[in-house]
Symmetry: C2
C-alpha cells in the first residue's frame, strides 16, 4: 500500500504533500459547525486558525471559510491552476455560508458580500491586503441600496471594492483611483470623503469601471464567483511577490509553507444608527492599569475610527448608548483575555444592534505596562511567573531606566543613525571635547548647567573627557561597537552613532543634515533608543521604577542560572552597576584610566622611552653573548660597546622607571575605589590592551603639523620637539592596529607595565583587606592566542602577588584568567585552560577576527549585508551562533575537559543582548557581563533563557495575531 500511495503521489504531484483523493482543502467556520481549530496554523495560517478558535469559543465572529496553505502550494505546482477537486469543495462551503447568512453571492436583491484576506502561518509584509465588499456588481449594488435604504453607503462600498480589487487583483496603481477621487472632491469642493453624496459616489463608480476596462482592456468582472476566484488567486500570487520572498529569505521562513486565504461574510457598522464600530484593549496599554480601554464611532466603518475625521468616543459611553451590546462586548473581551491569557487588542462592529468581533490579537504595550500587566496576571492567577517573565521583551526595560523622548511631544526627525546607547539627550551641540567641558561649566538660559551634545565624525580615546560631561553623543561614522558606542554605553549615556546623513564640520563648528545646518551652541535632541536625531529642544520624560518592576526582576533573579556582571571602569560606573543588580564586574578596562590629564604625560613618557630601553637591553644581551665566545683581541672592543650601550641606557631607563612609578599610585587609587565599591563581589581587571599609539597624538595630524612648522620656518627646537613625537608615532603606527602590538603582546614586550599594573591591583587589595573590606580580584590577560603567552604573564602576576603579600603580611586571594577573543585561543582552549582559572569571552574581537570584519570599518558594507540578507543580523549586536558560537562552545568544552573548575563568562557587547544571552545560557557559561544600564535586561533575558531551556517548545508559540 505504501508503494502504491507513493506511486500515486508521484503520478499526481498536484495534490501537494500527503494529498489523496479525500484531501480537505477548504475549512468552514461559523455557527453550528466549525471545521478547523486554533492548533491548525500550518494548514489554515495564523488568521484562519484564530478565526476557527474564536468561533469555537462561542465568540460572535462573521462566518466564512479558509482555503488551506496546501492549495497555495498546488497552485504553484500546477503553474497557476488549482486541483480539479478544489472547485467542488469551495462550492460546498460557499453554499453553507450562504445558508448561514441567508443570502446568496451575486443575488441581485440581497447579495452576500465577503472579505478576502491572506493569512500565512507567520504574518509577513508584502502579502496581499484585504479586499472588502466582494460580491457587489452593477446589479446587486442597486438591490443592496434598495434593501438597506442607504444608497450613499452602498455606492461607497462598491467604490471601495472596485478600488481595492483594481489595485490588488488587477495591478492598477492605487494612485490612479485616488487621483479620480481627488478630482471629484476638488470638483464638488468636498473637504473630505464624507462630503461626497450618493450621486457623486455613483458617478465615481462609473469612472472606476471605465478606468478598469481602459487599463486592463477588459470590462470589470461582474460575476461575483469570478471575482472571488480572482481575489483568491491574487492572494496566492502575492506569496511569491518580491517583498514577501525577501522577507522569508531574511527570516529563514521556507517558501513551501504557502499562504491560506480567508473568505468571511461582511458586516457593517455604517448601516444606520443601530450600527457602530470600534477598537479596544482589555487593559490600558500605556500604563498597564486593569481598565477597559477603547474608542468607538456610531454608524461608521472601521477605518473612520483611526482616520481622524470624526472624533471617536471613549468606550465607556457605549455603555449608555448601547447597554446590551456594551455588556456583551465587555464579557467577550474578558473571555478573550482569559482565553488567550494576555491583554487583547480587538476590533468590533455592531451591525443593526448585533455585535461582531472582527479581530483580536495580543495588545502591544509600553514597557511599563508590560511589567505591570505581567505581574497583575500572575496575581490574578491567569499565568505563572515563568509565563510572566516571558511576556516582557528584555530590551524594552531600557525605557524604564533611561530618560526618554516624550512620546506626546511634537518633533521633527532630521536623520536616523544607529541606536547605539539608549535614552534621550537634549543639549547644545559642540564639536570639540575641550569645548564640551568648557560649555558644560557655564550656565544656560535657565541658569542651570548647560547641557551639551558632543558631535564628532568619530570619537577617539582623546575625547573621553568631553564625552564624560556631555548629555549625549552623536557620531557620523562607526557602528554599534565603535568607540563612541562602547564608551557611551559604559557611561550609560545616550548615543546615536554612524549617522551617515550628518556631515560634521568639526573645524568650522557646524553640522549639516540634509538642508539643515546646526551651528555650535544650537540645540539638538537625540533618541538613543531609536537612533533618531531630532531638531531643536524636545521635552523628555525621566524614568521611574514601579513596585511591580521590583517584584518582576526578583522573579527573574530567582529563575536565572546565569550570573550577571557589569563592564565598568570607574567607581561611578561600578556604583550604577551595583544599583542595577550586577553581581560583580566582568570587565574593568585599565586603559581608560590612562587618559586623565595628570596621567597622560607619564603614559606618554613610558611610550617614548620603553622601546629604547628594550632595544638597548637586547643589544647589550647580544654583546654579552658575543663576549663569551670572543677572542682576546675582540674583547676590549666588545666591552667598550657594552659600556657605551649601558651609558646610553641609563637615561631612558631612568625615565621609563620614573614614569611607571608615577602611574602606579594613580592606578592603585583607581582600583582601591572600584574594589571598595564592589566589596564582597568579584572584579575582573584586564591588563593593558590597546596599542600604545592610541596614547599619542595621531601620526597623520603630527605629519601635517611638522610640515607646516617647517614651511613656516619655525625655530628648530620647536620643530624638533614635534618631530621626536612624530618619529615615535611613526615607529608605533600600525597598518592594522586591531591585529597589532596590543593585548598581552605589550605585556610580554614590556613586562614592567604588567608588573606595575598588577602591583597596583594587589596593593589596593591589601589596603582594603586591612580595612576589613573583602576584595575578589580576578586578573585577566587579554588577547592570548597560545598558552605560553598566558604562562608568561601569569608568572609575573603570581610573583608580584607573593611579593605584595609578603611585604604587607597578609594573604591575597585572586584568580588569573584570560580573554578568549582570538580564534586560536578557542581552538587551543584545552592547552590554555591548564594555566587559566577563568575564560572570559571577548566576543567583540572574536567576532571581528572570526568574520574578518573590523568593527571600525564594517560600516561600509555591513548595512548592505544585513539589508540584502547576506547576514541575518549584525554580528556585533547579536552573537553569530553559527560561526563565532562554534568557537565559544568549543572553547568551553575543551577548557572544562582539562580544568573542570574553569569559570566561564562573556564580556563582549553581546553580554547585554537577549538573544546572545540565550546562547550563553545554552552553552553553559557561568555569567554574562554587560554595560551597567543593561544589567536588568540581562537579568530578565537570563531568566527567559532558563525558562525556555526547560521547555521543549516556546509557550508563546500559539499566541500572535488571529
Amino acid at each position: 500500500m505504501t508503494t502504491d500511495a507513493h506511486r500515486r503521489g508521484r503520478r499526481r504531484p498536484e495534490g501537494g504533500a500527503g494529498s489523496g483523493a479525500t484531501e480537505k482543502m477548504v475549512y468552514f467556520f461559523g455557527a453550528d459547525r466549525t471545521e478547523g481549530t486554533g492548533a491548525m496554523r500550518d494548514l489554515l495560517g495564523g488568521k484562519g486558525a484564530g478565526l476557527a478558535e474564536m468561533t469555537l469559543a462561542g465568540i460572535p465572529v462573521p462566518p466564512g471559510f479558509t482555503v488551506t496553505t496546501r492549495v497555495c502550494n498546488s497552485f504553484y505546482a500546477l503553474g497557476g491552476k488549482l486541483p480539479e477537486e478544489y472547485a467542488r469543495q469551495q462550492q460546498e462551503v460557499l453554499r453553507r455560508l450562504e445558508e448561514v447568512q441567508g443570502k446568496r453571492l451575486g443575488d441581485a436583491r440581497d447579495p452576500l458580500l465577503v472579505s478576502v484576506r491572506s493569512g500565512a502561518k507567520f504574518s509577513m509584509p508584502g502579502m496581499m491586503d484585504t479586499i472588502l465588499n466582494l460580491g457587489l456588481n452593477d446589479e446587486s449594488v442597486k438591490g443592496l441600496a434598495e434593501r438597506t435604504g442607504n444608497a450613499r453607503f452602498t455606492y461607497d462600498s462598491y467604490r471601495r471594492f472596485l478600488q481595492m480589487f483594481g489595485g490588488v487583483v488587477l495591478g492598477i496603481s492605487k494612485n490612479v483611483f485616488e487621483q479620480k477621487m481627488s478630482e471629484m472632491k476638488r470638483d464638488r469642493r468636498a473637504g473630505n470623503d464624507l462630503d461626497l453624496s450618493a450621486e457623486d459616489l455613483k458617478q465615481l463608480v462609473t469612472e472606476f469601471l471605465d478606468l478598469i476596462e481602459q487599463r486592463t482592456g477588459k470590462p470589470f468582472p461582474q460575476d461575483p464567483h469570478r471575482q472571488l476566484d480572482m481575489a483568491r488567486d491574487a492572494v496566492f500570487r502575492s506569496w511569491f511577490r518580491d517583498r514577501a520572498v525577501f522577507y522569508r529569505r531574511q527570516h529563514g521562513i521556507p517558501d513551501d509553507l504557502g499562504t491560506a486565504v480567508n473568505v468571511q461574510a461582511m458586516v457593517y457598522g455604517n448601516m444606520g444608527p443601530d450600527c457602530a464600530t470600534g477598537v479596544g484593549f482589555t487593559r490600558n496599554p500605556a500604563t498597564g492599569e486593569n481598565e477597559f480601554y477603547g474608542e468607538y464611532l456610531r454608524n461608521a466603518q472601521g477605518e473612520d475610527v483611526v482616520a481622524g475625521i470624526r472624533t471617536p468616543r471613549p468606550i465607556l459611553e457605549l455603555g449608555t448608548e448601547m447597554p446590551e451590546v456594551y455588556r456583551e462586548l465587555r464579557e467577550i473581551a474578558l473571555r478573550l483575555e482569559r482565553h488567550y491569557r494576555d491583554v487583547q487588542d480587538f476590533e468590533f462592529t455592531v451591525q443593526e444592534g448585533r455585535l461582531f468581533m472582527l479581530q483580536t490579537r495580543t495588545g502591544k504595550r509600553t514597557a511599563q505596562a508590560a511589567v505591570k500587566i505581567a505581574v497583575d496576571l500572575v496575581s490574578e492567577g491567569l499565568i505563572t511567573k515563568d509565563e510572566a517573565l516571558l511576556r516582557v521583551d528584555p530590551t524594552s526595560l531600557d525605557q524604564l531606566l533611561h530618560p526618554r523622548i516624550d512620546p506626546e511631544a511634537p518633533c521633527e526627525v532630521l536623520a536616523r543613525g544607529l541606536a547605539a546607547s539608549p535614552g534621550a539627550a537634549v543639549g547644545k551641540v559642540v564639536f570639540d571635547p575641550d569645548e564640551a567641558v568648557a560649555m558644560a561649566q557655564e550656565s544656560d538660559e535657565r541658569g542651570k548647567p548647560t547641557r551639551v551634545l558632543l558631535v564628532r565624525s568619530e570619537t577617539s580615546p582623546d575625547d573621553i573627557h568631553g564625552m564624560a560631561v556631555a548629555a549625549g553623543i552623536l557620531t557620523a561614522t562607526g557602528g554599534m561597537t565603535s568607540h563612541a558606542a562602547v564608551v557611551a554605553r559604559g557611561m550609560g549615556k545616550c548615543c546615536v552613532a554612524g549617522c551617515s546623513a550628518a556631515e560634521v564640520h568639526e573645524e568650522e563648528g557646524f553640522l549639516k543634515i540634509g538642508e539643515q545646518t546646526i551651528k555650535r551652541g544650537e540645540y539638538l535632541s537625540l533618541n538613543g533608543s531609536t537612533g533618531e536625531v531630532l531638531a531643536g529642544e524636545v521635552p523628555t520624560i525621566e524614568p521611574e521604577v514601579a513596585n511591580e518592576f521590583r517584584d518582576f526582576i526578583q522573579w527573574a533573579d530567582q529563575r536565572r542560572r546565569l550570573g550577571v556582571r557589569a563592564n565598568a571602569d570607574t567607581p561611578e560606573a561600578a556604583r550604577i552597576a551595583r544599583r542595577f543588580g550586577a553581581e560583580g564586574i566582568g570587565l574593568c578596562r585599565t586603559e581608560h584610566m590612562f587618559f586623565a590629564e595628570e596621567r597622560l604625560p607619564h603614559v606618554q613618557a613610558v611610550i617614548m622611552h620603553a622601546p629604547r630601553v628594550k632595544d638597548l637591553e637586547t643589544r647589550i644581551e647580544r654583546k654579552r653573548q658575543d663576549l663569551e665566545n670572543a677572542s682576546e683581541d675582540q674583547r676590549e672592543a666588545i666591552e667598550q660597546q657594552i659600556a657605551a650601550f649601558e651609558a646610553e641606557l641609563a637615561e631612558p631607563r631612568r625615565r621609563y622607571t620614573e614614569a611607571l612609578d608615577h602611574i602606579l599610585p594613580f592606578q592603585r587609587d583607581d582600583f582601591y575605589a572600584i574594589f571598595k565599591e564592589m566589596h564582597d563581589l568579584p572584579v575582573t581587571v584586564r591588563t593593558l590592551d590597546p596599542p600604545l599609539h592610541e596614547f599619542l597624538p595621531r601620526r597623520e595630524d603630527l605629519r601635517v603639523e611638522v610640515a607646516l612648522l617647517k614651511e613656516r620656518k619655525r625655530p628648530a627646537s620647536e620643530i624638533e620637539e614635534r618631530e621626536v613625537l612624530l618619529e615615535r608615532a611613526e615607529a608605533l603606527s600600525e597598518v592594522n592596529p586591531m591585529l597589532g602590538h596590543r593585548g598581552c603582546r605589550l605585556g610580554i614586550a614590556y613586562p614592567e607595565i604588567t608588573e606595575m599594573q598588577v602591583r597596583a591591583i594587589f596593593e589596593a587589595a591589601a589596603r582594603l583587606a586591612k580595612e576589613g573590606v573583602k576584595v575578589l580580584p580576578e586578573i585577566m590577560i587579554p588577547l592570548v592566542g597560545t598558552v605560553r603567552e598566558l604562562d608568561h604573564q601569569r608568572r609575573i602576576v603570581d610573583c608580584i602577588a607573593r611579593d605584595v603579600a609578603e611585604r604587607e603580611g597578609i594573604e591575597l586571594a585572586y584568580l588569573v584568567g584570560t580573554m578568549i577573543e582570538v580564534p586560536r585561543a578557542a581552538l587551543t582552549a584545552g592547552e590554555i585552560a591548564t594555566r587559566a582559572e577563568f575564560f572570559s569571552f571577548g566576543t567583540n574581537d572574536l567576532t571581528q577576527m572570526t568574520f574578518g570584519f573590523s568593527r571600525d570599518d564594517a560600516g561600509k558594507f555591513l548595512p548592505l549585508y544585513v539589508e540584502s540578507g547576506i547576514l541575518e543580523h549584525d554580528p556585533f549586536v547579536s552573537l553569530d551562533e553559527t560561526g563565532v558560537g562554534q568557537l565559544v562552545e568549543m572553547a568551553v568544552a575543551r577548557g572544562r575537559s582539562v580544568n573542570p573548575e574553569l569559570k566561564t563568562g562573556i564580556c563582549g557587547e553581546h553580554g547585554g543582548d537577549p538573544r546572545s544571552i540565550g546562547f550563553c545560557h545554552g552553552v553553559g557559561l557561568e555569567y554574562v557581563s554587560c554595560s551597567p544600564f543593561r544589567v536588568p535586561i540581562a537579568r530578565l533575558a537570563a531568566a527567559q533563557a532558563a525558562i525556555r531551556g526547560e521547555r521543549p517548545t516556546d509557550a508563546d508559540d500559539h499566541r500572535g495575531q488571529i
Copy 2:
C-alpha cells in the same frame, strides 16, 4: 612483585626510572668487548652509541666508556651526588681501559690520558665542550716527557689540559688563560704557538697552576681520578646551563633525557714523524663527485689542521707518505660510507704508525652535491630512491635555481634582515621606483644595463614598476609576508625584508647601516637566501641544473600524491612556473594587473565614481518604495526628487561604466596571455581582493600635500583637484584595512566590477577555445565568510558565463570556488561547500585572523615571540598546525562531507614551505600552490611527505653524529 618493585622505586628514587640493584651505569667500548650498541641512543647519547657502533664494526677507535644518561638524572635527583653503586662500576671499566691500553691513570711514568666529552641523544649547543689530556699532573707530565722524548709536546698537552679544565670545570674565563699565553708570546716575540719552546710552555704551566689556585682558592687537583670525577660532573651540570635549557625549550626536548659522558683514551698525531692527523670526506662535499677528499698534517694535532698555521696537504699524498695507513684509511672510509649508507665526514689520527678514527658523521654538502650523491648512491645500489628523496633538504634546491653569492669571495656583512626571497643581487641602490626604472635603462661602467637595487622603508603596490626592473629589493620594515616579500617571491627576485638596522632616507637619497652610509648610485649586495646585506659589489655565481637533478626531481614526481601549482599573475611568471614543473596556476591575482600606468587612471576613475553611483542608486530605490505608499500630495515632490537623483546619477554612472569598459580589454588580454601560456592546465583566477584605497595615493601624503598647497596659497583649482582625491581617500580610508571593505565584499557592493572581471576571463577563454587552445579557468571568490556571499558572486559568474557562451556560440567549462581564509569560512565549510567546486586555503590571511596577527605589523613582536620560545616558529613561514591547521582540517572534512567532489588546495605562502607541505599531504589536500621558483621545492617536499606518510618512523632516525 610489581607492587614491590614499585615500592622500592619509591623508596629509592636515586636510581632513576627502572633502576634496580643491577642497573648498568657505565658501558665499555674497545677491543674484545663492547657493551653498548648503535641503537642505544637514549641511554648512551648519540656520541656514545656511535662509538659503540664503530667499535663493533671493527673500526679502530680509541677505547673508552660511556656513563649513561640515567646517571645524569640521578645526579640531579640526588642533588649533585651519584648513586652509591656508581663508583664501583666506573672503577671496573676504568680498570679494563687501563688493561686494554696497558697504562694506568695517574701512572707517574706512563700515564693513561683520556678525553671527556658530553653526549646527549640530540646534539645541543650550550653543552660542555671537550676536555683533552685528562690524567696529566705535575708528576706524570715529567714521566710522559721522558717516555715520549718530546718535552715540548708533553708540556703543551699539560698546558692545554689546564686551560680546558680551568675554563670548563672550574669556571675560570678562557680569556684569562689566553691573556697569559699572549703575554708569553709577546715576551718571547713568538709569532704563533709553535714558536714557544718546551721551557716556555713549562713556565706557562706553572703560571696556569698559580692562576687556578689564585682564582679558586685551592690548588689544581693533582689526583687524576678526582680530575675525572670533576670533569664528569661538569658535563652533568652543563645539562642545566641556561643555553642548553633554552635550546631544549625551543626544540621541545624534555629535560629528563639527560646527557651521557664519554671518556676515551687519548691518541696523538703529534708524537713524532710517524704521527699524523687529518679530516676527510668519502665524496667531494662541494660537487658530489665520488672522490676521496681530505687533508692531513704530519706530526700535528687535530686543531692544527683547521688553524691555518701550517698548510695541510691533500689526502692523496698520504698514499705516498704512509701507504699502509692510507690504504687502511680508504678502506675504513668506504666501510663507514657503506655502513651508514651516506657520505661520511671523518677525523683520524695516526699515532706512531697506527690509525685511529676519532669521529665520523654524515657529511654536510652543497645542494648540488646532495642531489648528485643521492642519485649516485641509488645507482650504486646503496640506498633506495625513496631514501634518496629523503636525503635532500627541499629548501636547499633554491641554491640550484637562483644566482648566489660566491661563497669563496670575501665580503663584509653590514646587517642581517629576513631572507624574504632567495638568490643574490648586486646593484646600485635607488630609493624611488621611478628612478629605478630610469637608472635601469642607463648603461653602467661596463657598458651593460645598470643593475639596481630598490631600497625602501617598505614597498607598496605603487612601487611595482620599480620592483620589476630591480635586481633585488631591500626593505627596512615588514615581515616574510610583507608586500615586498610576497611580490619579490612572485617575481623570483632576491629580497631582504625587515632589515631593521637599515635607516632608509628615501627623500634624501641615502641609507645608513650602523656607521656606514650608502648613497644613491653606490653598490650594495644582497643575499636573499640568508638575509645578509653585504658591502659593495660581491661576485655571484649563476645557477646550472645538472642531469642528476632532472632524474631526481622525476623520482619526486613519481612519488608524490600532492599536485603542485604556482602562484602567478603574469604570462612571464606563468612561463617560469611551467618551466619549473607547475601543473597549473593555483592563484592568479587580478589586482596587480591594475597598477600598470595606462590602467591606473581608469581604475581610479572607477573608485572615484562607483560609490557615488551606488549611493544614488540606493536613494532612488528608497524613493521608489516611498512612491508606492505615498499619498497623491506627496507624489509630485517624490517624483521630483527621483528625477533630481537620476539627473545627478547620469554623469557618475557614465564615467563608472566608461572606466570599466576601458579596463575590460586590458584584463581580457591579460587572461588571454596567461591562459595561453598555461594551455591544458587549470588556472585559478581570484577576483578583485584589495581594498580600493590601495589604488589611490596615500591619505596621509595627500593631507600634507593639501595643507602645504593651502599654506602656499596656490590657485583654488589646484587645491581643489587634490582635495577631491583626498576626500575620496579619506572616505575610503580604513582603520584596519585587512579586515575592511575588500575581497568579495567589494564584488557584492560593486557587482559591476565582478561582472567586468568575469567577462574578461570568459571572453579570453572563448577566444582561445576558437583558436583550439584548451583552457580550464577556475574562478575563485576571495574572503568568503558565509555561503551567501559565495552564492551572490557565483550567480554573477554563472550568468556572465551563459551570456558569453551564447554570444560566442561555444561551451565554456569552468569551476567556481572560494578561498578559505576567514576563520568563519572554515567553521561553516559544510554550508559553503554546497556552492563551491573547490576550496583554496588562503593560509596567509587565515593565519592573520586566527592568531589576530597583522602580517604587516607583527614584525614588532613576532621575532621576540620566536626568540623567547612563545612560538616555536614564525607561523607565516610554517603553518601553525595546532591552531590554523585545525581549521584547515575541519574545513576539508566538513566540505567533503557535503560535496565529495570538492577540490582542495592551498595558495598561501605556506604552499612553498616543506614542513607545511607535509601537513597539506597529511590532511589530504589535492594540491599546493607556491611561487614559481619554489615549485621544485614543493615537488620534492610533496614526495617526502608521501614517503614519510607510508613509513611509521623516519628512515634517517639512526643517522647523525657519532
